[in-house]
Symmetry: C2
Subunit: 330 residues, 2 copies
């Protein structure tokens, strides 16, 4: 009745932006990500009669309110499958700052889903597991897989064909690196979830996002399969800028960028001009992630570390999918 799982964060190269179903978390568009080896969440879940209600601790802090509710809803999904009403104790640890645009909800809900299903003795295939994780946090479905994953949007109303699949394992492209730097570890004012709904509802640029995302998916998918770095970086950079364009033009506008975000973007452009090929991508937060080849990662990380704005730098490569662990957190 107790299990521990670890899942890595993933960074989208073609972003998930916009839901067609808020409750089931069905996306408006498919997305593609790289699972990162450097950033992960470990979660222990225990179901027992001794727990009178669900109790959740994240990074040493008991959570309440909306944050607790989201975990409880996810536990309910798993309890329904396992036909049990037992309450759970859940303890979770991130090795990086949460809610700062480093996809902690992706790794968090992937780890939670795997730990909870295992604790309740369910044996679930990865595809099903990704659909369960998806209902906790959309992008979590991609963290079930290592390497490179695509979340297929699907078309069914019940979400039964909206799942993630692996495009390629981490061994496929070990030369690819992603440099994640934390420019401010503050939690965000507007959660991705709220930002997304508002954008879909009223950004005049949202339709253009949807109309062109298929081309980005094709370009990025092909670039991964054929290890075409320039194609990957160019498409990912444009895709991120398009997503932010939809946010900047929603009413009221949502501007996740901070001054440091621009400094970093300009630094990436500067390095690129100097002949160090690299690209940026930005999620719903101020953090800039840099896509580059491993041979340049050290040089780029050093440049980035030297910037006054940067608190922390992680050099990542394609990492593992969600897995069980025996390092119990309690």
């Amino acid at each position: 009745m107790k299990a521990t799982a670890t899942a890595n964060s993933n960074i989208a190269l073609v972003k998930y932006w916009g839901k067609r179903d808020e409750r089931l978390i069905l996306p408006q568009n498919s997305s593609i990500s790289m699972t990162l080896d450097g950033l992960y969440t470990t979660t222990t879940a225990e179901f027992s009669e001794k727990h009178r209600k669900d109790e959740v601790t994240i990074d040493g802090k008991k959570v309440a309110g909306e944050e607790l509710d989201r975990v409880v809803r996810q536990l309910n999904l798993v309890r329904r499958l396992a036909k049990t009403h037992l309450s759970a104790k859940v303890t979770s640890k991130n090795n990086f700052p949460k809610a700062a645009g480093l996809a902690s909800s992706a790794s968090g809900f992937a780890a939670l889903t795997l730990a909870a299903t295992k604790a309740l003795g369910l044996h679930i295939e990865k595809k099903e597991l990704s659909m369960l994780a998806r209902q906790g946090s959309g992008s979590a479905c991609r963290s079930i897989y290592g390497g490179f994953a695509e979340w297929v949007k699907g078309s069914h109303h019940d979400g039964s064909d909206s799942y993630a699949k692996q495009l390629a394992p981490k061994e496929h492209w070990p030369e690819l690196a992603m440099i994640v730097s934390v420019v401010t570890a503050e939690e965000k004012k507007v959660k991705s979830r709220a930002g997304m709904s508002q954008t879909v509802a009223n950004s005049p640029m949202y339709r253009a996002w949807l109309e062109t995302v298929e081309e980005d998916l094709k370009n990025v998918r092909e670039a991964i399969m054929e290890r075409k770095f320039t194609q990957l970086g160019t498409a990912a950079e444009l895709n991120a800028l398009k997503m932010h364009a939809t946010m900047h033009t929603t009413t009221p506008h949502i501007i996740y960028w901070q001054p440091e975000t621009i400094t970093m973007m300009k630094e990436v452009m500067q390095m690129h001009e100097e002949g160090i090929e690299c690209y940026f991508t930005i999620d719903g937060g101020p953090q800039v992630k840099i896509v580059c080849m491993d041979k340049n990662a050290g040089k780029i990380a050093k440049r980035v570390k030297g910037m006054a704005e940067v608190e922390k730098v992680y050099v990542c490569h394609a990492g593992e999918g969600a897995r069980l662990s025996n390092k119990e957190l309690f």
Copy 2:
């Protein structure tokens, strides 16, 4: 054969962004601006047989290359009308940094056109003058008028119905203020002209810009006529963000924003939250202009002046149109 004119800069509340004819400078969309009392260009033009070729001095520096060519082309237009081949000496002075996103080409070409036509003894109505100025720099056509002006895009191929007209004189709304701050007086890397063509050619967001600009025009026009400040600010802010969204998503991307731009935008949002109603607008450069009511202008200017990034602050109101002057520059 010698005349001097002064024209004020103008800042668009609905931006001109994209040409349908590069040579005649015919825009894809109509635009609306406020002519500013604080920022202006004075130009003296003299045609004479003693000048062997056109000679142009701006802010004490002789200009050459593309900058000279643009002035010569404008002088050619005027010479054609006056049926003369005389060369000219032109001296021009801005009271603010040029080419830093403060619309120096708008005031500059408006002043040049008025000075040159007058020097050659042409008597031209404002509407015609605006069409001449337009061919030098699109937005210059709006600086012919004081107060608030609309540049009607027109539909003719020869540009004969693409001119500016006054929506309201400066006396109509003296309570409206615009605070212009220079966050960096560097000249821009990508000129608006080049940025514009590229955006029209390949930004996936450009169509949405065109599809929604009519609504912005309607909102801003009505807000000016009925002095509805909230409506004006909201529409202008969204319009500016939409323009930048088209630039951010063109390939290669054009990002005029600097870290200081974001700092200023956030400061405007912060003041607004604190109950000081104000809005930002941003042109093709890093400068942030703040639209506010005069009663708050002092308070806002003080806040802005206190920011480390700000080099200079101008508090402007609606200003005069282009006019002749007897303060010759040589």
